[in-house]
């Protein structure tokens, strides 16, 4: 490890200084002359048919160039989910639908000379709705006789739309019923998670224009430029060849920009008018019309033997996908596939899920991707099993977790919308994480000994997690590397840095492989005309998949460089050359040549060719990173307020290619998770309208909400990843709900079955527990 020159170093993020000095790097920092401004009209009803829509007055309004509705836009069923093809999400939407399915579903768009004109013109559109009964509760959606949300004949890919089922999963290993009978203790509990949102500080924004050849250029805030190109081509029925997608710097994504929700509208306007067009969501639009986290209701049942070995686990996940089924199947799959293998000692396991349509906001991909919801239930139930056994939950986890060399049948049984891929764990530091994290929080001194100070009580809680690194045998990334005269290299790759630092990690991988400095790598990414393909930024795939592609390209280039050096040195069979400090060195003969000399020679003088190569990466492996979280909280019995005092995240992400960036990923995810655990929640009217679509009423964490945070990295070497790396982007958002929930139980003996843990819910739980204590004890 110590031999690495670039890997494991805190290389400065290559775009950081430009960002910190305000260079025009984001989609909306560049403007084009004569750009049309687009604004959208949204449905005020949760469920309605558009009986008539009259746009004539709007079309006459000054400055208005176009009004778009379902009447004059293509009727191509597609999904807005930016996933690999064929997509595991149903084709259940048109660009504009005749039937609106949630408050916030788009009804029309106006393109005008100015935003003000577009906003005014929207008010002139007359819509006659036939309001239909709405389903706001996922359990209602499954009842016989419930209104059918997707009754259009053209829907495909949904499990059973007549029953409002977007998808369904049923995976069984062993015999859980028998397993529960054989168990000494059984815990059965239900936990609910809420509607919440990514809230990147840069909202969705798209600018489109025609280039000098009449091709459509889409400059957009996306995590998935190549999927944007494919899905816009599909939705507008134009050839892929006609489209170029450019991803500049992106102001955060967290999953919400894994959706194609503005690009096709903007493109349509540009293609029809020949003019540049722009859509920028307001914060309110972002909340009501972009994507959310799937709210889940998870029934978890766990059986264990007296010795603390888990014997049977059953998870039933009811997922509310909202009005459209984007990411419905795969998010739910991950609630099982990214949680159950962690406890591979249980021989009897089942995972069943119903993913239902409702007339509620559309859920999509969100950091954690179902694992977050699964762990919210599973990791609290694990504590409850420990309690029943009279065992320390730390001990229970230590006995039951998966280890290196082991596998779980779930890996194969449950993939991403199809059968998965068998894998054996090759790197796992869970024991070390358990030890070091417990020490840091003072677990053995504090657990089970809540500390009271007046109305304030302190308690500790923990949780354990795994995730994946990309989707095995599905996610593919590619990279092209070429050499320049000064020994620098252009890296052109499809990897999609949305703020995480992937471009910097890619430069470090090239630098390590070729013996140069990361600053000598000029990274250009995510432009469908200029870079090779990559599925994009999701599923914790950046370092592993895109980075893996970069490594492959760099290894090919390395071999080409060595070939030239062998010829130069007259050592045709030499295999032990060293690349360092921009030179190729032959240790035996002592000969050396700079990469710059090799470049000049091959570009201009002899055996002329471009040293360069393209590498593609796809893997049968998706090595899980692991994490153990510990938290100490203080809860005020009088106000119900929970304050995290100290948070410890102990993480195994393989070799951290850039420890500073890794730390940023870990803390960013867990602070987002703390918001999800304590404050973040959509509120709705009884008719399904969100009532808090702004940062005043939807509270995300700020500096003053921070506990003391301690990150512990246990370094392992993952042989299937580039330079031993695994992923780190998502896993740490999964901890706060269960860890804080468990700490609350440690402090007050109460357990909340629904997040977020607001003061109101805490007080209610305290009140109920006091009532319960007053009840006469059942003589046994």
């Amino acid at each position: 490890m110590s031999n690495f020159k670039s890997i494991g170093k805190d290389t400065k993020k290559i775009d950081a200084l430009s960002l910190a000095t305000g260079q025009p790097m984001f989609v909306d920092d560049v403007s084009f002359p004569n750009t049309l401004q687009i604004k959208l009209l949204y449905s005020p009803h949760a469920h309605a048919i558009i009986e008539d829509i009259d746009t004539s007055e709007a079309e006459k309004y000054p400055g208005v160039k176009m009004v778009l509705t379902y009447k004059n836009t293509p009727h191509v069923p597609h999904t807005t989910a930016g996933q690999g093809w064929p997509e595991p999400s149903p084709y259940d939407t048109w660009m504009f639908n005749e039937k609106v399915k949630f408050v916030g579903d788009r009804v029309a768009a106006v393109a005008a000379e100015t935003e003000e004109q577009a906003v005014e013109a929207l008010k002139l559109i007359k819509v006659k709705y036939k309001v239909l009964p709405a389903i706001l509760d996922p359990e209602e959606a499954m009842k016989d006789g419930a209104p059918i949300i997707h009754d259009e004949p053209w829907i495909t890919g949904a499990y059973d739309p007549k029953k409002n089922l977007a998808a369904h999963i049923d995976i069984r290993v062993g015999d859980v019923e028998k397993g529960f009978k054989e168990s000494d203790v059984v815990v059965e509990e239900t936990f609910e998670t809420q509607y919440a949102q990514h809230t990147p500080i840069e909202p969705h924004v798209t600018i489109t224009y025609l280039d000098e050849y009449g091709r459509l250029v889409i400059r957009t805030s996306t995590q998935v430029p190549f999927h944007v190109r494919r899905i816009v081509a599909q939705a507008l029925q134009i050839p892929v060849q006609k489209i170029r997608v450019i991803k500049p710097r992106i102001g955060g994504g967290f999953g919400t920009k894994q959706e194609i929700i503005l690009e096709e509208i903007c493109s349509f306007v540009t293609l029809k008018t020949g003019r540049p067009a722009r859509i920028l969501y307001t914060r309110e639009e972002e909340f009501i019309s972009a994507r959310t986290r799937h709210p889940f209701k998870v029934k978890v049942k766990i059986g264990a033997k007296k010795d603390g070995m888990l014997h049977a686990i059953s998870l039933y996940a009811l997922s509310n996908t909202g009005a459209y089924g984007t990411h419905g199947l795969t998010v739910a799959s991950n609630a099982g596939s990214k949680t159950l293998p962690l406890y591979n000692k249980a021989e009897n396991v089942e995972f069943i899920s119903d993913i239902v349509y409702t007339n509620m906001p559309v859920a999509g991909a969100y950091r954690g991707y179902g694992a977050t919801q699964g762990y919210a239930a599973l990791e609290q139930a694990i504590d409850m099993v420990a309690e029943k056994l009279g065992m320390d939950p730390w001990e229970l986890r230590k006995k039951n977790h998966i280890k290196a060399g082991e596998t779980s049948p779930i890996f194969r049984a449950l993939g991403e919308g199809r059968e998965g891929v068998t894998q054996y764990i090759q790197s796992c530091a869970l024991d070390e994480l358990l030890e070091k994290g417990a020490k840091e929080i003072g677990w053995f001194e504090k657990y089970g000994r809540p500390k009271r100070n007046g109305s304030k009580v302190r308690g500790v809680g923990m949780s354990m997690h795994m995730q994946g690194s990309g989707i095995p045998l599905i996610d593919m990334g590619a990279a092209t590397l070429k050499m320049n005269e000064d020994g620098s290299f252009n890296l052109l790759y499809g990897g999609t840095d949305i703020g995480t630092g992937l471009d910097t990690v890619a430069a470090q991988i090239v630098a390590e492989t070729l013996g140069i400095k990361p600053e000598q790598v000029i990274v250009y990414a995510s432009d469908t005309d200029l870079t090779p393909f990559d599925v994009g930024a999701y599923a914790s795939s950046g370092t592993f998949v895109s980075g893996g592609a970069v490594l492959k390209a760099a290894l090919k280039v390395r071999e080409q460089i060595l070939e030239v050096a062998r010829e130069k040195f007259g050592e045709p069979d030499s295999k032990d050359y060293i690349l360092e400090n921009g030179k190729v060195i032959s240790p035996k003969s002592g000969k050396s040549i700079t990469l710059s000399e090799i470049a000049y020679d091959t570009l201009y003088v002899k055996n002329q060719h471009q040293i360069g190569a393209t590498g593609s990466f796809v893997s049968p492996y998706s090595p899980p990173p692991f994490a153990v979280h510990f938290v100490e909280i203080e809860v005020d019995e009088e106000t119900g307020e929970i304050k995290p005092i100290k948070y410890v995240a102990a993480v195994d992400c393989g070799v951290p290619i850039n420890p500073n960036l890794v730390k940023g990923q870990i803390i960013g995810a867990l602070v987002n998770g703390i918001g999800y655990a304590l404050t973040e929640e959509y509120h709705f009217t009884p008719s399904g309208r969100m009532t808090n679509p702004n940062f005043m009423d939807y509270k995300i964490p700020s500096t003053r909400d921070l506990p003391e945070i301690k990150v512990i990295l246990a370094e392992t070497y993952e042989p299937t990843g580039p330079y031993g790396a695994k992923s780190v982007a998502e896993i740490n958002i999964n901890g706060p709900i269960p860890a804080i929930g468990n700490a609350l139980h440690d402090a007050l003996g109460i357990r909340l079955h629904r997040s977020p843990y607001t003061p109101e819910r805490v007080l209610e739980a305290i009140r109920k527990s006091k009532e319960k204590k007053l009840e006469p004890v059942d003589p046994e």
């Binding site: 910190a20 500080i201 940023g664 940062f695 500096t703």
Partner: protein
């Protein structure tokens, strides 16, 4: 109507509508270094300094600050000569997506002008209005502390 500002030391004159907020006027006139569009003063990405004080430019009428000194992120340093705060944010790893960074650095800049030796609590209080969804803030606070160090070293030289 016309307004004049001294932006980053340079006088600029703009034509505005009376109802416009400062953010929109500045961005329309090429100051794309100012981010944000919540229009409620809640995210802090549009923070600029007006006569040295941090303000969310999305909630201030452009007409109301006629004649004032306005500092954007470009006014405190550039690629070749970054301010110690900009350098510190880069070195410590406090920039992820970078969308909130200009506003956050300006809030920190205003703090350090008033209080060159801030405590952690002072820093957290000063950055409280600048929402960041990427970093979880820890490295931002560390960066401000590192900038304090850089500023002191600079003075010693």
């Amino acid at each position: 109507m016309k307004v004049k500002y001294i932006i980053n030391g340079k006088e600029e004159e703009y034509e505005i509508h009376p109802g416009e907020v400062l953010l929109d006027v500045l961005r329309r006139n090429g100051h794309s270094e100012i981010k944000g569009n919540c229009y409620l003063g809640t995210c802090g990405a549009c923070t600029v300094l007006i006569d040295g004080e941090p303000h969310t430019s999305c909630t201030i009428l452009a007409a109301k600050v006629n004649g004032k000194h306005i500092t954007t992120i470009k006014g405190i340093g550039d690629l070749n000569n970054p301010h110690p705060l900009q350098k510190a944010f880069v070195d410590v790893g406090a920039v992820q997506c970078g969308f909130c960074t200009p506003g956050t650095i300006l809030s920190a800049y205003a703090l350090l002008k008033k209080n060159p030796n801030p405590t952690d609590e002072d820093i957290k209080k000063a950055l409280d209005g600048n929402l960041c969804r990427c970093t979880g803030y820890v490295q931002q606070v560390e960066a401000v502390k590192f900038a304090v160090k850089l500023l002191k070293e600079g003075k010693d030289e």
